[in-house]
Amino acid sequence: MALLKTDSDSKTVLDHLHDWVVTVDHKKLGLMYIMYGLLFFVVGGVEASLMRIQLAVPNNHFLPPQVFNELFTLHGTTMVFLVGMPLIFGFANYLVPLMIGARDLAFPRLNAFGFWLSVFGGLLLYFSLIGGMGLSGAGSAPDVGWFAYAPLTARAFSRGHSTDYWTLGVLVGGFGSIVTAANIVTTILCLRCPGMTLSKMPLLAWLNLVMCGMVLIAIGPLTAAQIMLLLDRFLGAHFFDTQAGGSAVLWQHFFWIFGHPEVYILIIPGFAFVSEIIPVFSRKAIFGYPVMVAATMAIAFVSLGVWAHHMFTIGMSATSNTFFAVSTMLVGVPTGIKIFNWIGTMWGGKIRFDTPMLFCLGFLFQFLIAGLTGIMLAVVPFDWQLNDSYFVVAHFHFVLVGGLVFTIFGAIYYWFPKATGRMLSERLGKWHFWLFLIGFHVTFDTMHIPGMLGMPRRIYTYEAGRGWGTLNMICTLGVVFQATGIMFFVGNILWSLFKGRRAGNDPWDAWTLEWTTTSPPPEYNFAELPVVRSRRPLWDLKHPTDPDWKYE
């Protein structure tokens, strides 16, 4: 395999494995993060498929309620903490040093430590499936929902250790995220190559800097809340013990102070990928670089003040409700600005529709819809109907699947050649794209409707007389297309690793530093550290009479 070829032929498979396990190289760790994330993506997808089968018809008996409740808890927790976070840290790990002209992250050993902490956290969470007997004999997997509201998580209402597996698994993963974020921030601030001032960094570096800053601020509240929960469950503390005067609402505040910035943490790297891919495939520089940076910082800042829009139904005062409605709508403005800037990048360009660009176009369309349904949910009275209904489920799947997952697919098709030296098949890529796109829309466009017809979330079945049956069936059918699309994707990766067209240094005719080195790059990344003069160093080299630094 190209990935594993080394100079010395005397290395056994065990030697290769050992290399990967003990590595501190950001590229290997990045790839491991991504493989870990993709593996759990499939696991989470299976969980979702099982739930969709159960919900396809009213009063179904495919799954008992306990199993269904464990499935939606695991699905949410997996997708956010074992897929989303590892994937974004994986890409950041791999790309940031290459794009800023550095040799590795600031603290390579800390990098490895953070990775293995995350892995341990994930394995601990899944160990719960076999770890012990739960209350109903259905294994001990957590069944409290991915946001684990109190007091459902109290000892009194969650007997056994299922909630503890959730708490500890996520807690440990959180520590991994914090150290990796600190590592990436330090790398970006201290290890840029000569000439690369902050305003000459690629947008991907800026957006990952902002994302990691948000991780440092947002994960702490979750860690604190989980420590409090553990104290309640193991030492008899009363943080969320309503019998002792504790507050169930306090958990909600703490969780969402983490939870809302978390979803921006997840999507901002998606923005980063799009900001690198759209320019290259439109053959134009990104439109409005400084505005894009400012908008991202505005999003980061404002997103710290919107959390209670998840709590509009708890009975806050009209003033509080209005405040959070305002902040939530405001955060939509810089997000909209970014969409316009991407369109502005494409304007006047010469657009090539290779697979990475197709996924970015899908993202643009879907993220637009996601943002607009978000604005609807920000209108508090509308949210009083739509909160905790399938409308919200459709909204956040538009954000996370239609948005983030599409950009991740685009990023994989774009940077796979750099990491492996081989191109992914365009033909299989297009099959993947179209199948997944169709399946996504069949499922998630339709899903808005049951929400508007009164179907709440997290129910293992529903009555026949409510008009939800056919709509749910349609949602389930979409899964078939998505699953087939994913099979094409996996097949593409496996085939291309061995038979893909050789990529060369710069298969896309791009402009940032990672395309100046070989594919795959050597362990030390660059023979000589580059010196840059503009945001697109390769453009300057390719267009010596018309370099960027004359216009920036």
Binding site: P65, A248, N341, F365, Y460
Partner: protein, 359 residues
Amino acid sequence: MKSRIEQRKISASTCVTRPRWRIWLLTFILFPLSLSTALSADPSLVPNIFIPESTPAHSINHVSLLVLAITGGIFAVVFSLIAYVTIRFRRRPDDNGTEPPQVYGSNPVETAWTTVPLLIVVVLVLSTARAIHEVQDAPMPPSAVDVQVVGHQWWWEIRYPKLGIVTANELHVPVSDPQKRMPTFIELRSADVVHSFWVPRLAGKTDLIPNRVNNMWIEPMRTGLFLGQCAKYCGTEHAKMLLRVYVHTPEDFDHWVKAQQALAAGDPVVAAGRLVFERTACINCHSLGKTVGDGRFGPDLTHLMSRDTIAAGAAENSPENLRAWIKNPNQFKPGALMPAMNLTDAELDRLVDYLVTLQ
């Protein structure tokens, strides 16, 4: 040479069906059909948030339609931009390979597409604030019916403190009239975890949170039955914590109140069944009229047969279902907190005979 249109006409009239026509026809039949099966449920029962039948639901509906219109407009504009750009600026097959002119940004354009969204936000905020105030700060008129709802794992305790009525899962209220307003104001509490009271056609949802009192109100404008259910995950049987709101004319409501206020005497013929109730653990969880049962962990059974469903909507209220439920609640609601009572068949028969007399 016949034109293509004429050729098609001939094929249609001679009933030569080309596959393509069949597909289009099926599409235009299949889609409406599936929609209609969705609505083959009694349409008045489908809890559609866009068919509001109560004052707060109307307020919500107004602002919802406004925001739908605005976001619809934004979608139309931006989607057209994306479509236009994708088509107009695609690389042509005869492209000469040069790079297009590089444009790095434009301050006027950035200002424009910052200002317009901000203005839209202002409009939305003002409408939102007004609708919030209309619903949340509505004063309670003296003619309002006063209800307390306590959420339990997985049923609704419903009390009318001024009327001295305790029931479960099915809320009975009078219909209101713009001239003679009779809304129902509801206080929401929880005995265990967080629940949420949601009857879409009557109001937005409000949570039931332990150690906290929340308030909401409904003002139905039509008699009939309205469906809802718990809308905040509260454990194993969250899905079967259903709600039924019966809206009566003022006269019918009075009848219902009087029937509920009368203490169930129970038919002396079925005293044997009453003894089963009083001598088994039932009394620890259930209150029942004049019996010694005064438990509040489970629903009050005084007027059990006045309800259409049992187990918070999990089953229709019939003697057979009642018997099966008492024998093994897990049959209807796996994980329900009521244990199987391990009664003999004879005891079960006597008990059910007694219970069905509790109107």
